[in-house]
């Protein structure tokens, strides 16, 4: 990694206002920023973030797409390549959702193959603790860690809905409130397996007897990622994870999240710097701010077309809204919450549909937004705030790094497989010039390359 050096520019007024300590500890007395960023790439493969309508949109399942994208990422010294997990195909009103990209290969099977064509980049599989068996999953992760020479990571997720459970032996066995208790016990079994220990686990839902029988990898065990942003999720991460994959890209929210994670990590008896934070981000870049703004709109319009806008509202209204004009106001009909066929597999809560749809109608009316405009803003809100001209995004990220708000980004490309090209060719050299991004990989393992 490049040395941090002295900051070439002072913090902006916005960032300086958020700092409460000296440059060595700007956010928390026990937390010392490294001033360095690590990038991950999240190959979503499904959902609306990936644009499939352009001539250059590649096949989301083809080996060549994955190989091409991961080679670009490795050229850009990305620390990690992430894959999501599919447990059940998304449905909309009881039918597989037709408007977005759908279908992807099994994450770890694919990563085991990608390990053969890469040398340094980390390989991270999202895998849930509810519909996997801990010993089987631990063995597969350890296999990946050994095949890749210590580059495996596990993005730990939980789920509890019975609809997903219909594809698995245990069905919908887990209560929402118990998901982290179960996840923690699950992770402990996996850790025992990796340590080569005898496993004698009696949980609330099942018992496991096994013996860890694989050697340790070059990094000891797979790096643990976690994405829970709720207080319970943060506490779970503070006790268990090496890296949090957070949703907080805005500077103020990122600073607040850092302080919260640091407090919880210390409370869990760990070092204040033990847990790294990588917010998820979608990055749209252009040479100038004006061009970037135009490009952001263009990307969002391609991601959310009129059909997707209606479908997005149908998820919350729970009924057919096809008779409404995407260029007109939001539907003035009440939701049908009794209808069970909402889009599933995306974690939507529909208990408060009545209240939510009313507030959305009011919000859109106040801003004079059509259905299409409203849906595009809603969908864009979760995509982070790291878009703009090459120079401004580099400046902004350098400031985040110096402040210690984040340790890097987990970037979701909006185009496959060329979506990282401008990030690697334009943004990363500017970050390297600012001394906040590594010129070379720090080591051979994912743990080393994340600075853990």
């Amino acid at each position: 990694m490049t040395s941090t050096g002295t900051s070439p520019t002072p913090l902006s007024a916005e960032a300086a206002a958020l700092a409460t300590g000296p440059a060595e500890h700007p956010l928390h007395p026990a937390h010392a920023p490294t001033g360095q960023l690590s990038f991950g790439v999240f190959f979503q493969g499904v959902n609306s973030s990936t644009i499939w309508r352009l001539p250059e949109s590649g096949d989301q399942v083809a080996w060549e797409s994955f190989e091409s994208l991961i080679r670009t990422a490795e050229r850009g010294k990305f620390a990690a390549f992430f894959l999501g997990e599919g447990l059940r195909l998304r449905e909309h009103r009881g039918v597989p959702f037709e408007l977005d990209v759908a279908g992807r290969p099994d994450a770890q099977t694919l990563l085991a193959a990608l390990a053969a064509v890469t040398e340094k980049i980390g390989l991270v599989a999202t895998q849930n603790t509810t519909y996997n068996d801990p010993v089987d999953l631990a063995r597969r992760l350890q296999t990946l860690d050994l095949l890749s020479g210590g580059r495996a990571g596990w993005n730990i997720v939980t789920t509890d809905n019975a609809w997903t459970g219909e594809n698995f032996r245990r069905g919908g066995y887990l209560d929402h409130a118990d998901r982290y208790i179960h996840a923690e016990a699950f992770v402990r079994v996996a850790e025992q397996f990796w340590a080569g220990e005898q496993i004698h686990h009696d949980g609330a839902h099942y018992s496991v007897r096994a013996q860890g029988d694989l050697p340790r990898s070059a990094q000891g065990r797979p790096v643990l990622f976690q994405a829970g942003a709720s207080p319970a999720g943060q506490d779970f991460a503070a006790r268990t994870a090496d890296v949090i994959f957070s949703p907080h890209g805005g500077l103020e929210a990122a600073v607040e999240f850092r302080r919260s994670v640091v407090e919880r990590t210390i409370a869990a008896g760990r070092d204040a710097n033990a847990v790294k934070i990588l917010p998820g981000a979608e990055i749209v870049l252009a040479p100038t701010e004006a061009e970037a703004e135009e490009k952001i709109r263009w990307v969002r319009d391609l991601q959310i077309g009129p059909e997707q806008a209606i479908a997005l509202l149908e998820q919350y209204w729970g009924r057919d809204l096809s008779e409404f004009d995407p260029d007109g106001p939001l539907p003035d009909v009440p939701p049908e919450v009794s209808e069970s066929g909402v889009t599933r597999g995306a974690g939507f809560q529909f208990a408060k549909a009545e209240e939510l749809t009313r507030s959305w109608r009011e919000e859109a009316a106040e801003k004079g937004q059509t259905i299409l405009e409203f849906a595009r803003v809603k969908a864009g809100a979760r995509r982070g705030s790291f878009s703009g001209s090459y120079e401004t995004v580099a400046d902004r990220l350098a400031e985040y790094a110096r402040l210690g708000a984040i340790d890097g980004l987990n970037i979701t490309p909006w185009l496959i497989p060329s979506g990282l090209d401008d990030i690697v060719d334009e943004l990363i050299p500017r970050l390297q010039e600012r001394g906040v991004y590594p010129d070379e990989y720090a080591g051979e393992t994912l743990r080393e390359n994340l600075g853990l």
Partner: protein
């Protein structure tokens, strides 16, 4: 909950006359001690004329080791030997069809039914008796095929004008209610290049897998040549097995017992040459040939079952409106 045996595409529907000559496979045990050497070994075996590699569980997960070898090989078939009993059928089927995507249609499954009494407890289950083990293996195999067959080859439409990526009417549920598990489907993965992966049973695994899996459901038989008892008599054994009129066709001749620690290839290149010279095994595979083709199996047709159509909820709504 009703209990119905999964209905699937059986061998009888897809089997063509057997190939005149079986494919030569070499077995690699997934011992972690040799983790850094599998890729080079696989390439050398491919160069020596092997038609396929089978991966036997020696600690590392055989499906992932097979996937690891896919990008470093070009034409050999890749067949992990994995259990069909103490597994999540949905995960297993997804992993295997993903291997088929990654290898561009070179994946197969050497199915076996786990009888090691220590394995069930690793997934929180109790051991099944002999008959139940065989029934479960059959159910998981049939379920896997339903999952593999749940997307039509043309389900991804990418209709830019209509704004539709997918046509749900070309997807179907698995709707399996087996004795010990149920699976709804459809697959989370689009149809793989071969559609249905070739499923084979090694002679040593026939008893545990049961007659239904070994003789009715599988696509063929695997004859083992164990190098530990010497390469002598190998030619005679293959010739004799091909003469047998009854039972499943020998589609694969598998060389087992390679000593990865000493001379990894041992007598394998000479053995391949001798078998090929005698016309006892198929020619070395050509790049771009699927494993089904290599084994002499016809392309797997897609069976669309109207009852299991994935857009049935929409059809029902339209009926009522």
């Amino acid at each position: 909950m009703s209990t119905t045996t999964p209905q699937t595409v059986t061998r009888a529907e897809t089997a063509a006359p057997g190939p005149t000559r079986p494919v030569l496979a070499v077995d690699l045990v997934t011992d972690p001690a040799f983790v850094g050497r599998f890729a080079a070994l696989a390439r050398r075996l491919e160069e020596a004329g092997a038609g396929a590699l089978t991966l036997s569980d020696g600690g590392l997960h055989p499906i992932h080791v097979a996937a690891h070898l896919a990008p470093v090989t070009r034409a050999v078939g890749l067949l992990p030997r994995t259990d069909a009993v103490y597994v999540e059928p949905f995960h297993l089927a997804t992993q295997l069809m993903s291997l088929d995507h990654i290898s561009h249609g070179r994946a197969g499954w050497l199915v076996h039914a786990q009888t090691d009494p220590s394995v069930p407890a690793t997934v929180g289950r109790s051991p099944l008796d002999r008959a139940a083990t065989a029934r479960e293996a059959a159910d998981v195999l049939e379920t896997s095929r339903l999952i593999w067959d749940s997307w039509a080859p043309d389900a991804v439409v990418r209709d830019t004008a209509g704004g539709k990526y997918l046509d749900a009417s070309r997807l179907q549920y698995a709707d399996v209610e087996a004795e010990t598990f149920s699976v709804r489907g459809p697959a989370i993965t689009p149809r793989s290049p071969q559609g249905l992966l070739p499923v084979l049973v090694a002679d040593a695994d026939r008893a545990a897998a049961g007659e239904r899996v070994a003789s009715e459901l599988a696509d063929g038989r695997v004859l083992d040549l164990d190098l530990r008892s010497g390469a002598d008599g190998a030619l005679e054994a293959v010739a004799a097995a091909r003469e047998e009129a009854d039972g499943p066709v020998v589609r694969l001749v598998r060389v087992v017992g390679l000593d990865l620690g000493a001379d990894p290839l041992g007598p394998v290149p000479e053995l391949i040459d001798a078998l090929r010279e005698q016309g006892l095994i198929a020619p070395a595979p050509v790049v771009g040939t699927s494993l089904r083709e290599q084994l002499g199996l016809p392309p797997a047709p897609h069976h669309l079952d109207p009852v299991r159509r994935a857009d049935r909820a929409r059809l029902t709504r339209e009926d009522h409106s």
